[in-house]
């Protein structure tokens, strides 16, 4: 399962006591819990959407490179976790424990099998 951490612009996020984002310690602790439970597969934090670049290839094989994230997105993706769990309920529990869920929201998406 893929857990996508993000938040929506203007969404009334509960204001954390000190800063606007979960602390590094919180994430470290969460990562450790995932590893200890044996469900961790991969994880990553994303740089700001302002650093995003889009790449498309048209029919003629030409590359089209544009600045910015997908669409005029008002939802900002901050990072992801890939975890190996048996079902949605287990994934949901891990999503709820993710520090990102307290500051924004976490989307749970199953990975397609090839």
């Amino acid at each position: 399962m893929l857990l996508i951490m993000g938040f929506r612009e203007g969404e009334g996020m509960p204001q954390p006591p000190s800063s606007g984002a979960p602390s590094a310690e919180e994430f470290m602790k969460y990562q450790q819990e995932l590893r200890q439970a044996g469900v961790h597969v991969d994880a990553g934090l994303l740089q700001s959407f302002e650093d995003a670049t889009q790449v498309q290839v048209n029919d003629a094989g030409e590359r089209l490179v544009t600045n910015g994230p997908f669409a005029e997105s008002r939802e900002y993706l901050g990072g992801y976790q890939i975890i190996d769990v048996p079902d949605l309920d287990a994934a949901r529990d891990w999503a709820a424990r993710c520090p990102g869920a307290k500051y924004g929201r976490v989307e749970v998406r199953p990975l397609a099998e090839f």
């Binding site: 399962m1 048996p86 079902d87 949605l88 309920d89 994934a91 949901r92 749970v108 998406r109 199953p110 397609a112 099998e113």
Partner: protein, 418 residues
């Protein structure tokens, strides 16, 4: 619907009755609703071919389950992709259970609760939850469900397909939630069942019999739940409430298709055996813990059902129960019903004051009940012109022909000069 000349009624009767159990069993076993549906259909086909010749087996469900399971195992053996997929899905399942020998006389477990909790999972939207529950637990066809909810069959088919795909792809488990989550998840299940009931009940009097079938299906589903969770107060309470409400069905609409209000109903038409069962279950529900709003609603319905007439109803008791219900679920609808009880208990003046206090609740003023209750209180105070106006407004907001007819007639009656 079988080949000409072969009587298939017994097979279909068994299948309709056992469809939910069979699917639940197969879904829990293989973790794949598609596969469960397909092999269940194949098993039915085999039954249609075999039973007329060999006779209906002593344990039809066991026969169908065994046949369906063999067909599923055949498929898995033939289809390596499917086998891998199921192996992934069932990485955590007990391998011994999968390998156990299949016999026709084994005890058949009832896995319907697991399937019901999967169909009513919060990750599915409410439309999908009701549709999937009727399709898989009640065994209604897609066309029947579409007709019951007044949507085109293609829309319902798409809704079911999406819901099923979500169960599959996002791996919604076929499992009864653990104790920490059970209360919340059970509320969702009961909400779905109640929605199915009210959808059918509101349509009583429609020419469309299928919609009334929803009432029977909701009661049947609640009976199943009650059998599987006998100690659960909310389930007992809901079953009691549904029985006590449906007991009045024969008197709710007159021969001309007009709705009859509770006070005017011919109470000799009420179903006494349903009332007895409902009252017994209410007592049981009220003694179970934790207290549930379903049990209190059932108690209110029981007071009405056991009263010889509206006037002889124990309105004090009804009012106290509404106080209790409002404490448990302080919603505008409960406040409205409490105001109506007060108007019977303390008089129309007191009731009207309570109703007027709710005039700022758009969820109430958008629906006909609040206007009809006002009309009723005003009429009792002999304020006929105001009553006529309130009833007219109610008739404009009512949805079913029976209600519109009733409310329009009221409006006309009080609008009449003199």
């Amino acid at each position: 619907m079988g080949p000409a000349g072969i009587p298939v009624e017994p097979v279909e009767a068994v299948f309709r009755e056992e469809h939910g159990r069979l699917l639940a069993l197969l879904a829990a076993r293989f973790g794949d609703l598609d596969l469960a549906e397909e092999v269940a259909a194949e098993a039915l086909l085999a039954a249609v071919e075999t039973w007329p010749r060999s006779g209906t087996p002593r344990e039809p469900l066991a026969w169908l389950a065994t046949t369906a399971r063999r067909k599923a195992l055949d498929r898995i053996r033939r289809d390596a992709t499917l086998a891998t997929k199921l192996a992934v899905l069932h990485a955590d399942a007990d391998p011994a259970r999968r390998a156990e020998p299949v016999t026709e006389h084994e005890h058949i477990p009832d896995d319907r609760l697991q399937l019901l909790f999967a169909c009513c999972h919060p990750a599915l939207d409410l439309d999908a939850q009701t549709g999937l529950t009727l399709r898989y637990l009640a065994g209604l066809s897609t066309a029947e469900i579409a007709q019951a909810f007044l949507v085109p069959p293609a829309t319902m088919a798409q809704r079911l397909t999406r819901g099923k795909r979500k169960i599959q792809q996002s791996r919604i488990p076929f499992r009864v939630p653990g104790p920490d989550e059970l209360a919340g998840r059970l509320s969702l299940v009961l909400h779905v069942v109640y929605l199915i009931f009210t959808e059918g009940y509101a349509a009583t009097g429609h020419q469309d019999l299928l919609r009334c079938d929803l009432v029977d299906e909701a009661i049947r589903l609640t009976r199943i739940l009650h059998r599987l969770m006998p100690g659960e107060a909310r389930v007992t309470g809901l079953l009691a409430l549904l029985l006590l409400t449906d007991a009045r069905r024969p008197a709710r609409v007159d021969s001309r298709g007009m709705a009859v209000s509770l006070e005017d109903q011919d109470r000799s038409l009420w179903d006494t055996s349903m009332i007895e069962e409902g009252a017994r279950l209410t007592t049981q529900a009220l003694s179970q813990h934790p207290p549930s709003s379903w049990s209190v609603q059932a108690a209110i319905a029981a007071v009405h059902d056991e009263a010889p007439s509206a006037l002889q109803t124990d309105w004090r008791q009804v009012r106290l129960l509404y106080d209790e219900l409002f404490a448990l679920t302080p919603t505008p609808v409960v406040a409205l019903n409490r105001a109506i009880a007060i108007s019977w208990h303390e008089g129309p003046q007191a009731g009207l004051a309570r109703l007027e206090a709710l005039a700022d609740q758009p969820s109430l003023t958008r629906q006909h009940h609040w206007h009809a209750a006002r009309g009723h209180a005003l009429a009792r105070l002999s304020r006929h012109a105001a009553a006529a106006e309130a009833y007219r407004r109610a008739s404009e907001l009512a949805q079913t022909p029976a209600e519109i007819a009733y409310l329009s007639a009221r409006a006309a009656r009080y609008a009449a000069p003199g």
